[in-house]
């Protein structure tokens, strides 16, 4: 019976081919350092899932942002857990993506034929940091507000274009409701979309070229 169901699905979805091409691939002898990429992917999914739960209660306006986060922490059942995971997951994701980059650097895995994988990877590192930067403002507390004030000021010190960048980031000369709205949109739509797109290409390239082997004296 199960075989019949599987065969029917396989005929239409090509499950066997998926298994052969995606899962049953040969790989060089593995190494625990090689798990950092998949750990980053896992954290991205976890951040996405907890983030979606948080948007159910979060309100991106200066009048309500702080109170809505308070409510998530105190009023919503297991809200503290969801926010706690999202909060610590963000830090851990930046850390793990960075160590992943270092691992690739040390084993020189960015060399032929994986140059593009590295390039996309740097894009992923920068977008991850962008997620951290935009997400930091959202609780609208003192730390968030002043860190973002200084952070956008630094971005505004670019010669010639500084003024424009500063106003584009803040939605005006000062931090305001517009800034929060902008950062929220960037944090939940813009950057995650970019991140997911880059990730798709990154994963495709990894499957295309296979994981690099740990270099020995021969290499």
């Amino acid at each position: 019976m199960w075989k019949k169901v599987f065969d029917w699905l396989d005929e239409r979805l090509g499950l066997n081919d998926v298994y052969k091409n995606l899962l049953d691939r040969p790989e060089p002898k593995g190494n625990w350092w090689n798990t950092l990429g998949s750990a980053s992917l896992f954290l991205f999914i976890l951040q996405g899932a907890t983030g979606i739960f948080l948007t159910v209660y979060y309100t991106p306006s200066p009048d309500h942002a702080y109170d809505s986060v308070q409510y998530i922490m105190e009023g919503v059942s297991f809200g503290w857990l969801i926010r706690g995971i999202h909060h610590w997951g963000a830090s851990l994701m930046v850390l793990i993506v960075f160590i992943h980059m270092l691992r690739v650097f040390v084993t020189a895995s960015y060399k032929y034929p994986r140059e593009m994988t590295w390039l996309i990877g740097i894009g992923l590192l920068l977008t991850t940091i962008g997620m951290g930067f935009t997400g930091y403002l959202l609780p609208w507390n003192q730390r968030a507000y002043w860190a973002t004030t200084v952070g956008t000021q630094i971005a505004g010190s670019v010669p010639f274009m500084g003024e424009f960048i500063l106003k584009a980031l803040r939605g005006g000369p000062d931090l305001s409701a517009l800034t929060l709205q902008r950062f929220f949109a960037a944090h939940i739509w813009l950057i995650p979309a970019a991140l997911a797109g880059l990730m798709g290409v990154h994963l495709y390239l990894i499957i295309r070229h296979g994981e690099s082997h740990f270099p020995s004296k021969e290499d």
Partner: protein, 480 residues
């Protein structure tokens, strides 16, 4: 890279694949173990450490020291140290744009810059020493940025100099040397690893950087630690916080029940007619945001002073004002039901013979009834009551205010309704009865009497030692 090298690399990879493993189940097993470990780790962090509460954003509070998220701290420190450099330190965009920009550009274009086909570390000494120095510097700058700030100018200068040497000068020197050797004496990188000069430069430079950081951290361990700001998160805590703030800032004019309609005994506002703030007129017509705005910006036409930080750097923060509004709502607005816990008494009731302590009994009473006037900047004969030391040692009459074991100390006299006459002119009062507009409840006065008569213990333990259990008459059972 020519086709022959490419072919060699591909053949080499084929060989590795042949003696390798399968993605499913070998590699994915490791991935799943690590992901599961991360998931459990995150749940533990969320449960046992949680997210530190922070007060609400207050754009008017310019005294707040901004701190970025920890993974930006190294950049923050780098900018701060860079700003100390004479002349170029003033060109801000060099450090904020050019240096990080060049760093990111090199990182991005790495596969195009590093064209050598070799992957083993022994043939990549240049890349690894440079990256190693940069990463070590990032870690050390992060550590330096998380240390407390030096308490005085001399120490600050010493600490900043050490940080600049360890976090900026040495790494810059090491990197400059490594690049110079790479440009002019490249074969040094290909010598045996034991006699390899670039490695020695990196190791010695790293040790010096670490030593500087250890020194800076050791110095910082003697600095005063910044106090963690207490943030009321639960409703009950917020009501208590609001009540304490109300008793300090609002009671003088509005009274402790918000009923006052005519201000008495307040300099500058004497006789001003105001509306009571505990009734429907205020609580039903203003929502929380409007109430918070009245407190922050005042009502100049109605005599209400502004309390927000926009007018007064020492003023109330946004969170403080929100807590006062919460307190008013739950205390006086009949549409809100106050949680039973928030109605707990100010201090635990005293048993027969029990001695109260400052920490448990006196501090909350003083905060509620006295600190409103007895704090810096108010007219109070210089008698401040915000801490144990102040209560015992400040004031124009400090030798007479509290006398251990003596009922005739000024404090006990005035709270029991006996004003202290001026010694020069007995018809005048030197100290009025306190608190000025209402009498304390007898149980509160009892706490003060017991406390002072028993030598004013500070902690609950000290007070417990003075506890004398009331001697009860031995019960004589009548013999049949």
């Amino acid at each position: 890279m020519n086709d022959e090298t490419k072919k060699k690399i591909n053949e080499r990879y084929e060989r590795e694949l042949n003696r390798g493993e399968r993605f499913w189940p070998d590699s994915i097993f490791k991935d799943l173990v690590v992901s599961l470990g991360i998931f459990i780790f995150l749940i533990l962090l969320a449960t046992f450490i949680g997210v530190a509460p922070e007060p609400k954003a207050d754009p008017a509070d310019t005294s707040y020291l901004p701190r970025p998220e920890w993974y930006f701290l190294f950049l923050f420190k780098f900018l701060a140290l860079y700003g100390q450099i004479p002349v170029i330190g003033k060109i801000e965009w060099l450090a904020t744009v050019v240096i990080p920009g060049v760093g990111i550009a090199i990182l991005t274009l790495l596969p195009l810059l590093d064209k050598s086909p070799y992957r083993h570390y022994s043939r990549r000494i240049f890349a690894l020493t440079v990256m190693g120095t940069v990463v070590l510097d990032i870690i050390l700058l992060t550590i330096m940025a998380s240390l407390p700030v030096a308490p005085n100018a001399a120490e600050l200068a010493a600490s900043t100099t050490l940080q600049a040497i360890g976090g900026l000068l040495i790494p810059f020197g090491v990197l400059a040397l490594l690049v110079a050797i790479y440009l002019f004496r490249r074969n040094m990188y290909y010598q045996s690893t034991r006699w390899n000069l670039p490695i020695w430069i990196t190791v010695i430079g790293s040790l010096a950087m670490v030593a500087m950081t250890v020194d800076v951290s050791a110095r910082a361990s003697f600095y005063p630690q910044p106090g963690e700001a207490e943030v009321a998160t639960t409703l009950v805590d917020q009501i208590f916080a609001g009540q304490d703030l109300y008793s300090i800032h609002c009671v003088e004019c509005h009274g402790d029940d918000g009923k006052v309609e005519k201000i008495e005994g307040v300099e500058g506002l004497e006789g001003k007619v105001i509306s009571p703030i505990n009734g429907h007129d205020v609580l039903y017509t203003l929502n929380d945001a409007a109430l918070a705005e009245v407190i922050a910006y005042g009502r100049p036409d109605a005599g209400m002073n502004p309390f927000g930080k926009a007018y007064n750097p020492e003023g109330l923060s946004k969170s403080d004002i929100d807590h006062i509004v919460t307190f008013m709502r739950y205390m006086w607005d009949d549409r809100f039901e106050i949680p039973a816990e928030a109605l707990k008494p100010l201090f635990p009731p005293l048993a027969e013979g029990e001695v109260p302590s400052y920490d448990v009994h006196i501090a909350p009473i003083v905060k509620r009834y006295c600190v409103s006037c007895h704090r810096a900047g108010k007219e109070n004969n210089n008698y401040l009551m915000t801490s144990y030391e102040e209560i015992l040692t400040t004031g124009d009459n400090k030798d007479h205010n509290l006398i251990p074991g003596d009922e005739n100390g000024y404090l006990l006299q005035v709270i029991q309704g006996h004003a202290i006459p001026d010694p020069k002119d007995p018809s005048k009062e030197m100290i009025r009865t306190m608190p000025p507009n209402r009498a304390l409840k007898p149980n509160v006065i009892d706490v003060f009497v017991r406390w002072i008569m028993n030598g004013m213990p500070r902690t609950a333990e000290d007070a417990a030692k003075l506890f004398v259990a009331p001697t009860t008459e031995p019960v004589t059972t009548p013999t049949p």
